[in-house]
């Protein structure tokens, strides 16, 4: 079980690292945002989502897609503009979706996914699905009006939305603490009448518990919940970020508490053989190499189709 978790997290890490390589080598172009260090939030939260639940992520969403079951090959293909990409290359790294896997899309407008998730929950009020709609956004997004509106809307109408704020301490290059007077972001949800918790997002158990309760509340028609998950990205905001804003020593500390290092330590302390632990990483990397290689062989999306799908 814990080894499964480690494997799940390694899948995300390995995917992100392979994406980084492909970005630096050329097959992937443009702006790419990795979620290294935040894997536990995606893995823990998605472990509690049911097929009928809807997940809305951000540009930093590759890991969430993997955790939701989107095949890595289709993600790689998407980022490389292949016809086999989840959206045939139209979404790209920052704006792809795979509704067939309950992954209702990244969003590259900060905060804009939250109102859309509200709509997924609204639909659930009428379709009998008992759907929970989860929207994930960063600490910085909490200052966007769309998020405030979405939270109140869900609260007022009693809609089953799970608001997950991944507090990784930075909005791009700016510390969140400089952009708020009250560092407890969950208070904003409480103030709207939304049950809210702050958790250690590096702790899979906390993420699971908070998500389970939130999804149960949504499914039972008890309305929205809010989870502020403290985490850290151990890479730049985007590939190429020089990370000059980081105070000395921060990254070193983060590398100790980040969830893969943490779970690895736990497993070893539990007496799990080193070999089993290391196999997770190896297996994940192999899977991603295979997926990426397959995607690289896939044909590029055909420019002749570029005009399709604008209208019904």
């Amino acid at each position: 079980m814990k080894l499964d978790d480690l494997l799940s997290m390694w899948r995300i890490r390995a995917l992100e690292e392979k994406i980084r390589d492909l970005r630096l080598e050329g097959p992937i172009v443009g702006s790419v945002h990795l979620a290294n260090g935040q894997e536990s939030v995606a893995v823990g939260a998605c472990s509690q989502l049911r097929p009928q639940d809807a997940l809305y992520a951000t540009y930093r969403g590759h890991g969430w897609a993997v955790a939701r079951g989107v095949p890595p090959r289709e993600i790689f293909a998407e980022l490389m503009g292949r016809v086999t990409g989840v959206n045939g290359g139209r979404g790209g790294s920052a704006h792809f979706s795979a509704p067939q896997h309950g992954f209702h899309g990244e969003n590259s407008i900060v905060g804009a996914g939250a109102p859309i998730a509200v709509g997924a929950a609204l639909a659930g009020k009428y379709d009998g699905s008992r759907r929970a709609a989860m929207t994930v956004f960063g600490d910085g997004a909490i200052n966007q009006g769309a998020v405030a509106e979405a939270m109140n809307f869900a609260a007022a109408l009693g809609l089953g939305v799970v608001f997950v704020c991944e507090n990784n301490r930075y909005s791009e290059l700016t510390p969140i603490d400089d952009m708020v007077a009250e560092p407890d972001l969950s208070r904003r949800a409480s103030a709207l009448g939304i049950p809210a918790v702050r958790i250690d997002g590096n702790d899979l158990a906390q993420v699971r518990t908070a998500t389970r309760l939130a999804v149960e509340a949504a499914a039972a028609g008890r309305g929205p919940s809010f989870i502020e998950a403290h985490t850290q990205r151990i890479v730049g905001h985007y590939i190429g970020d020089s990370e000059q804003y980081r105070p000395a020593g921060e990254l070193e500390r983060d590398l100790v508490v980040e969830p893969i290092a943490r779970l690895t330590r736990e497993l070893l302390a539990d007496g799990v053989p080193t070999e089993s632990v290391e196999r997770c990483e190896r297996r994940a990397r192999e899977e991603m190499e295979t997926a990426a290689a397959a995607a690289l062989r896939d044909p590029l999306a055909d420019p002749a189709t570029a005009k399709e799908h604008l209208y019904a």
Binding site: R90, S97, P99, P115, I116, A120, L122, A150
Partner: protein, 330 residues
């Protein structure tokens, strides 16, 4: 079983909404004050009573309202959202342009956004600058969003139903000065029409006028005045602006050789420019330079006499047509 009833525009909109709610169980109708109070213009009166919780009031949160429409639409609902004034859509323009318009295209059709935004626009006496704008051109520059501007009771009924039935995000722009207008015979209950189409309001050979929205009434008044003098004008009311019936305009302009476009929106960058550009590109020969009438590029003052000085009036249309006809007389 189609049936003829007497309705004003407000009544026609209400009837279309009632029918949509009745026949399409996936429809939802919501907005500020639309449910319990029946709308600030009374247009949605009685619908919550009749259709229960599929009709509901919302907080004053246009971004949440429109985002919720995008999300609900992707899960099989067919939301109809009222944005009370088009001016207010600007607080939530992201959800229209970056979200609703993108969904289908970016997902290769895996996700769709069959939602309808009902809104209304235009100047009315005493309205302030933030409640007077005509903003259809902003939406018409956004690929992926359908736009219609019905005016008569019949069109208000037909276009709204077509919009709701359409699988694309569609903005139906009404005009509050028309809701309480006189009742006309409206055929309701007929087959739901596809989106698109224009109305030829007058047939003539001396000039072509293309117009849309409430200002069409002024155009028709001006044209009718000229009619008495033996000047006959083709009047094409573009009820749908996206899709726009370019071919019809080209055919008419080619025939009359004279073109005037009239809209209430600001002249610069208005959709009138697009119409003139399409005609110019087509190479259709005109007998004289085409003309546009629109709001003189300005903000809109509250005092009625000031606003009237900036917005095209019947006389302005008449004068423009006279000059046009004289100009191409040679």
């Amino acid at each position: 079983m189609p049936e003829i009833v007497k309705l004003n525009v407000g009544g026609a909109v209400n009837a279309a909404l009632a029918r949509a709610l009745d026949e399409m169980p996936e429809t939802l109708l919501y907005g500020e004050d639309v449910a319990l109070p029946g709308g600030v213009f009374g247009v949605t009166r009685g619908l919550q009573k009749r259709f229960g919780d599929r009709v509901f009031d919302t907080p004053i949160s246009e971004t949440a309202m429109l985002g919720a429409a995008v999300g609900a639409a992707s899960f099989g609902r067919r939301p109809i959202v009222e944005i009370m004034w088009i001016d207010f859509s600007l607080v939530a323009f992201d959800q229209i342009v970056n979200q609703a318009a993108n969904v289908r295209y970016v997902s290769e059709g895996r996700t769709t956004a069959p939602l309808t935004i009902r809104t209304q626009q235009g100047n009315a006496p005493g309205a302030c600058a933030q409640h007077s704008q005509n903003l259809e051109a902003l939406l018409l520059h956004v690929p992926g969003i359908r736009v219609a501007m019905p005016r008569t009771p019949q069109d208000s009924y037909d276009v709204l139903l077509a919009a709701i039935a359409s699988d694309d995000p569609t903005v139906v722009i009404e005009n509050r000065t028309l809701y309480a207008g006189s009742k006309e015979a409206v055929e309701i209950g007929g087959p739901v029409q596809p989106i698109g189409g224009h109305r030829r309001r007058r047939t003539g050979s001396d000039a072509t006028v293309v117009c849309w929205g409430a200002i069409t009434a002024k155009v028709l008044d001006a044209v009718d005045r000229l009619e008495g003098e033996g000047v006959s004008v083709d009047v094409i009311e573009a009820v749908w602006l996206n899709p726009f019936d370019t071919e019809v305009v080209l055919e008419s302009a080619a025939r009359t050789g004279r073109l005037l476009v009239v809209h209430e929106a600001a002249r610069t960058g208005g959709f009138g420019a697009e119409v003139l550009a399409r005609v110019a590109e087509s190479g259709v020969p005109l007998r004289t330079a085409p003309r546009r009438l629109g709001l003189a590029d300005s903000r809109i003052p509250s005092a009625p006499q000031l606003a009237a000085a900036l917005l095209p009036q019947t006389n302005d249309v008449e004068t423009a047509l006279r000059e046009l006809v004289a100009g191409g007389a040679a």
